[in-house]
Symmetry: C2
Subunit: 210 residues, 2 copies
């Protein structure tokens, strides 16, 4: 079952117990949590081909929200159906398991990003990651892609304030590393970006298995 969703639409909310998973067919989505005091943290950004709530197949209650960033086309797959397949086809189960493990690897890198890198590096790392992932699924080059996030969204992804995000972007622009305007990224100096970002794509586990 395929559905069109507008930007900022909640797909699943923390506390819910979904009976289906959501395959992102078109558009961008993100997972997030909000603290006590109303501060939001984005946990991951998702692109077409991702199943951002695949974990709900085994973890019955959502511990975070899943929201669209842009207009999205999503396909819903019933847990029952998925479970039938995975029980009969262990290799498919393993492939899906692997997907969730890559997800976890990205979370780990985000912990490092937010915990130990200064603001500019955080920003650079985030951009580099999204570019790499889009490139891997053939949706863009690593140097040029759409990114339908406001500076406020990026702030929530990077654990920074929106004002500071704005300043970091300007700094990266001024130093000729990248352009970043209205939902679109152009990387001018990829090697430099990677260096600022301390980026190593190992954690994306994109190389063919084994």
């Amino acid at each position: 079952m395929v559905k069109e969703l507008p930007p900022q639409a909640v797909i699943v909310r923390e506390g819910e117990k979904p009976t289906q998973c959501c395959l992102l067919v078109e558009g961008f989505a993100c997972r997030s949590k909000t603290t006590d005091v109303g501060k939001r943290q984005i946990l991951s950004v998702h692109i077409p081909g991702d199943i951002p709530d695949l974990q709900s197949l085994q973890l019955h209650v959502m511990d975070h929200d899943l929201t669209t960033l842009s207009r999205c086309k999503v396909a819903f797959i019933a847990h029952d159906a998925l479970r039938t397949v995975t029980r009969e086809q262990p290799l498919i189960a393993e492939a899906l398991w692997r997907e969730t493990l890559i997800d976890a690897a990205v979370f780990r890198e985000w912990i490092v990003n937010v915990g130990r890198r200064p603001a500019a590096a955080r920003m650079a790392h985030f951009i580099a990651e999204v570019g790499k992932r889009l490139e891997a699924v053939g949706l863009a080059t690593a140097e040029q892609f759409e990114l339908p996030m406001t500076q406020i969204d990026m702030a929530d992804a990077l654990g920074l304030s929106p004002v500071h995000v704005n300043r970091v972007i300007q700094e990266l622009r001024r130093s000729g590393v990248l352009e970043l305007r209205k939902y679109s990224v152009s990387i001018r100096d990829l090697p430099r970006l990677m260096e600022i970002a301390d980026f190593d794509d190992l954690y994306l586990h994109q190389s063919a298995a084994l």
Copy 2:
């Protein structure tokens, strides 16, 4: 195959391709990454019963280090053996998959912790989490347990400087929330700690499935 390891022993290192998983039988271990500029970030802390490198069964190259914190007893399980079991017993595969998904849920919470919570809340959250998890496996109460980490280790887990960790601990001590000395934690005011921490154990997914 069971092995005794001293504190600070590397179990697996980033870049390696292990052929076995490690079940922690006794002691504490942690996963970590180190940036460019030599800053370490601890990604998770592991207690007896955990299989901290279970992901290596499907993700062939380690994207982080796994190290002991205290003296540990670890059992190694060959990937081959594990794979045989999981292919024949889908329910076991699912249980292991579920474990890795809880792992991921903890990573998500750590992103929030490090990205959006002030230092005292970070500390409190970390302590609350470890207590809860130890309690769940019957190794301690949530109020009183051993925690073989130096303040430097905690700094690396929380994305803070060691000096600041020290000050935060003193503040929590002074306000009667907890004692924290020489590898041992005593929580004096658990409700208050939970409140400071903005702690909700939902993300640990400890309640019986479904």
